[in-house]
Amino acid sequence: MAMVLSDEQKILRDTARTFLQTSAPIDQLRRLRDEASADGFDRKTWESVVEMGWTGVLVPEDHGGVGMGHVAAGVIAEEMGRTLMASPYLSTAVMGATAVVGYGSASQCNKWLPPLAAGSLNVAVAVDEGRSHSPASISTTAQPTERGFRISGSKFFVADGHVADLILVSARSAGGPNDTNGISLFLVPSAASGIEIQRQTMVDSRNSATVRLEGVEVDAETLLGEAGAGYSALEHVLDAGRACLAAEMSGSAQQCLAQTVDYITTRQQFGQPIGSFQALQHRAAHLFAEIEIGRSAVIRALQALDAASDDRSLIVSVAKSKVGWVAQLAAQEAIQMHGGIGMTDELNIGFFLKRVRVAEALYGDTNFHADKFARLRNY
């Protein structure tokens, strides 16, 4: 597949860029932070996003979506990364949709996809239980009951968990602590009895939540896919999230470089623009090269998701690891090249540094994916 955007995708990109820079510039995130917004995102902007169909980007048309695929979903994420728009897009439109579309029964699809595409259903993915990402290391249990399952356990770092209507929960119905077998996935309404959701504001001013499930009784209909065989579905959902996070970070990295180039072109020291100093030029040029290399990994990963490629996991790990590293370099270089002003909260770059750090950690940091890559290649 050619690694260029289709005409349709290019239109989407241009629309998204214009919309986000106008309606959700980075000052929106600053305002949400300073006002300690209860939602953590702007409902009005989100309504416009829904109207444009972005929540249905991965939902087939016969379920009310636009079914444009992962490359398109990544295009949106990349543009969101440029202005750091806060929203439940990743959890809902990318991961939630991938889960239901890919593994939902006909009745689950009918039940969940139309409201998801219509923006009336927010989804959150509850997977991690420890200090760092490790999707097979779970001790949340799902015990069979007469009408379905009883789920108990605690999930941390659940992005957008506090605004979710539906929570995708991974739980162990069999096997030991690190077994990939024995993991089941459930679509649990957040209003279910026994669920306690505690919001946590993150360093990037976005939200995540601790989700505690104490003997939550769910019926059999909540089970996504087959009992005990949910791990590969979970990996698929995570890979969709990882690829779009990489796309988002790629957008952030590009924005950091662009702002830095602007700044060093105008900032004068020693009687000339500091961007004329060769040391800064070479570092900016190196960063450009790294960003371009990262961009290729992102588009390849999104294409691998669309093509359901056998190499999907390996390619996604390349993208998440590489771009996670590149985006941090971009934010750090941006701060350093801005000098004194780079240290301040007033400059927007700090928001990028913080968001990139969280996005990099989410669903596996750059080391996690490097290690995963090596294991996939048997070393």
């Binding site: 760092s132 770092f157 360093v203 240290m343 909260d345 080391n367």
Partner: protein
């Protein structure tokens, strides 16, 4: 007081309105002031301890062995004092040094301006004679703890016709006057100890010029060397802290073969530990060489550069090892705040780029463009 400082907030900074977190802090300061040990190597007549360099080193080592806290944090001791001892008049020394050693006057540094960052000598704050005193007008930025300081040493322009480096003077200004105002700057860590400082017809007596009028650049550079050494010194403190691997191992754990579970992180940790140890030894070597009259003067630039870059690496790895926990606002260890703060290390006190310029030109002798 035999516990390392945990936060800057815990430290004693003195000043006209000093704050002590405990009575022990106050007593500890008083006792060390009696012995002149807030400035061990300054002459006794100016409130110092009168120790030689070797004796001073022994004292520092003994203090370190006891895990004793520094009794007083002071830009007066670290930066202004050395400059006054070298360039000040006898009257200036007698007036300003003893209050510094006793922690009675807290000093701030007025160097950078919004348009004069790395290119410090392009500064534009005006200092003009007006009868028997000077009037100062302009703005300084990155004044550390400017809102808490009593006096400020300020680089000002006193000759507007001369070449860039030739019309600069260093003047001492009392901040307790209506012409001086400060405004804290919020950093990306959410903290703020840096200020903007505004001078609006601020007054300064003519005998408060340090060194010759219009020759302040020489004094300024000398003072900057001490600033770099101070930052290098805190790098030593950091390097002597708890080994990174201990922190990381506790967070991440070991695998079945007894090595860190995160194999990729392990490589970065070991490389950083090796670099940190070798850097720590370098700070010792440079100090030993200086004592022996060997070594290169501009080495403080190398220590400032490598020490701050290393500290950034250390915090990056601590963030990796803490994982999600550290990313939550209000996490008790405040690791994220400290990590964000390190991003300024390679900017404040002369950027890494400026340090590399100094090494290239003053040590390696590379030509100017």
């Amino acid at each position: 007081m035999r516990q390392p400082l945990r936060e800057e907030n815990d430290a004693v900074w003195g000043g006209r309105n000093p704050t002590f977190k405990s009575n022990e802090q106050k007593v500890w300061l008083e006792r060390t002031v009696e012995k002149g040990w807030t400035a061990p190597e300054w002459p006794v007549k100016y409130g110092g301890g009168g120790l030689s360099k070797s004796e001073g080193k022994i004292l520092r080592e003994e203090m370190k062995a006891l895990s004793a806290r520094p009794p007083l944090m002071s830009f007066g001791v670290w930066m202004l004092g050395p400059a006054l001892l070298k360039y000040g008049t006898e009257a200036q020394k007698q007036t300003h040094l003893p209050p510094i050693t006793r922690g009675e006057i807290r000093w701030a540094q007025g160097y950078s301006e919004p348009n004069s960052g790395s290119d410090l000598a392009s500064l534009m704050t005006r200092c003009e004679l007006h009868g028997d005193h000077y009037l100062i007008n302009g703005q300084k930025i990155w004044t550390s703890y400017g809102h808490k300081a009593d006096w400020i040493f300020v680089l000002v322009r006193t000759d507007f016709e001369a070449a860039k480096h030739d019309g600069i003077s260093l003047v001492l200004v009392d901040m307790a006057q209506p012409g001086v105002t400060t405004r804290p700057i919020k950093l990306l860590s959410g903290m703020s100890h840096f200020c903007e400082t505004f001078f609006d017809d601020a007054r300064c007596k003519v005998d408060n010029v340090v060194g010759d009028l219009n020759r302040g650049w020489t004094v300024a550079k000398y003072l900057l060397t001490h600033e770099r050494e101070m930052i290098g010194g805190s790098a030593i403190g950091r390097a002597a802290m708890r080994p990174l691997s201990e922190i990381v191992t506790q967070q991440v754990g070991l695998n079945e073969l007894g090595v860190l579970s995160d194999l990729v992180l392990r490589t970065d940790v070991v490389r950083t530990e090796i670099d940190s140890l070798a850097f720590l030894w370098t700070t010792e070597r440079v100090a030993d060489e200086a004592k022996a009259g060997q070594g290169v003067g501009a080495m403080s630039a190398m220590l400032k550069y490598s020490g701050t870059e290393l500290n950034k690496r250390r915090y990056e790895l601590m963030m990796y090892s803490a994982g999600h926990d550290a990313l939550t606002l209000g996490h008790e260890a405040n690791l994220a705040r400290d990590w964000l703060r390190t991003k300024g290390n390679s900017i404040e006190g002369g950027t890494s780029e400026i340090q590399l310029n100094i090494i290239a030109k003053r040590i390696l002798g590379l030509p100017s463009a």
